[in-house]
Symmetry: C2
Subunit: 218 residues, 2 copies
């Protein structure tokens, strides 16, 4: 992970760009060339795929010299991992504290309904988009993403497990499987909402997924 | 839609390519230059995004002259619509007859379990990938895809509606919403299975989605 300050600065622009498919408004006064390189590489990846991430194109887009680029990223493949972890930071920074606070079914429903918030929608949708760009094309990028999703799934499974301990959910249902189904519903709902430009498709999908959890309520 | 013969020839190679992220083995002896153009454009789109679909690049990849290309596609944007309808043909040709044959919950479960078949997985996953490539980037391509998904959803909703008429499902649940949830689960499950290279994630997701339908069984 790169320093939190750079992450905080860049995540907002990149996430919006990713979702909208537009170039981010790179701030020329941004003194942090590492952040500029990551933002430019993210825009290239989103617009032209992982094949477009050549050092020359990234240098031109980020307005850094070859020497500076090579100093920042001696191994250019690291950039893809940084893109993944930056996007991931945006999702996990929002998700994990809320998931960790889930103590009952009402909290879980509240967590799900917050996923309908436009900002949360953009971050989660960005992760789905990254999977399509990287899976089967960039081994290290794919592994970084798989780790991200595993972390998210584990936190959700822990929340569901707490509901079982609290006697709110049937102990017969494996929390890990329920977590996979919820995250899949979320990602699939994003995909349909994105396609149809109708956030209602995500709402319907999340409500159905929550009904599935509630079906195991004790 | 292009002629069925060309579609039948090319869909297999394209779908596999799409999923694997490799170039299709274009058959040089393939006499149908339209099919070659569509296959080449599909590979370019999958590998380099919609921005790579310039007439010059497609002509070079398909080994057709500029004159022939312009005769085949006076409006190059039509190529994206043909790519969508070709991928879509593969999914709908497999899905619609099976969905139309669903008469009871057991048939529906059978339909869902067939989606775990590697060939069905590839086709559905290709549609999800197309959404990420086209949504917000190519209006006509996005509309063609949205129409495709609407067609699929309508067929699934009709199947669910027949189960209601047959008294197998509670009439209180809107078939259209249940259909959205099922297709979202399918797409999200594909995404996770693709990411983790673990088809079990799709299986778990589909089982959870089917449980959701079964929860409304009468």
């Amino acid at each position: 992970m790169h320093p939190a300050r750079a992450g905080t600065t860049t995540v907002h622009a990149m996430t919006a760009d990713w979702y909208d498919g537009r170039c981010p408004d790179l701030d020329i006064s941004e003194p942090d060339s590492r952040a500029r390189v990551v933002a430019s590489a993210t825009a290239l990846l989103a617009q032209n795929g992982v094949g477009s991430l050549t050092p020359a194109r990234i240098q031109a887009a980020a307005r850094v010299s070859r020497a500076e680029f090579e100093q920042l990223f001696p191994d250019p493949d690291v950039i893809v991992e940084v893109i993944v972890s930056t996007q991931l930071d945006a999702v996990l920074r929002a998700q994990l504290p809320r998931l960790d606070a889930v103590q009952n079914l009402e909290d879980l429903q509240h967590w799900l309904s917050r996923l309908l918030d436009p900002r949360a929608r953009k971050s989660s949708s960005a992760l789905g988009s990254l999977i399509h760009h990287l899976a089967d094309r960039h081994d290290r990028g794919q592994r970084a993403l798989a780790t991200a999703f595993a972390h998210w799934r584990t936190s959700l499974a822990s929340a569901l497990s707490r509901l079982q301990t609290a006697g709110e959910l049937d102990r017969g249902v494996p929390p890990e499987e329920l977590a996979v189904g919820l995250i899949a519903a979320l990602q699939g709902g994003h995909l349909l909402a994105h396609l149809t430009r109708d956030a209602d498709q995500l709402r319907v999908t999340l409500e159905m997924a929550f009904d599935q959890v509630r079906a195991h309520a004790t």
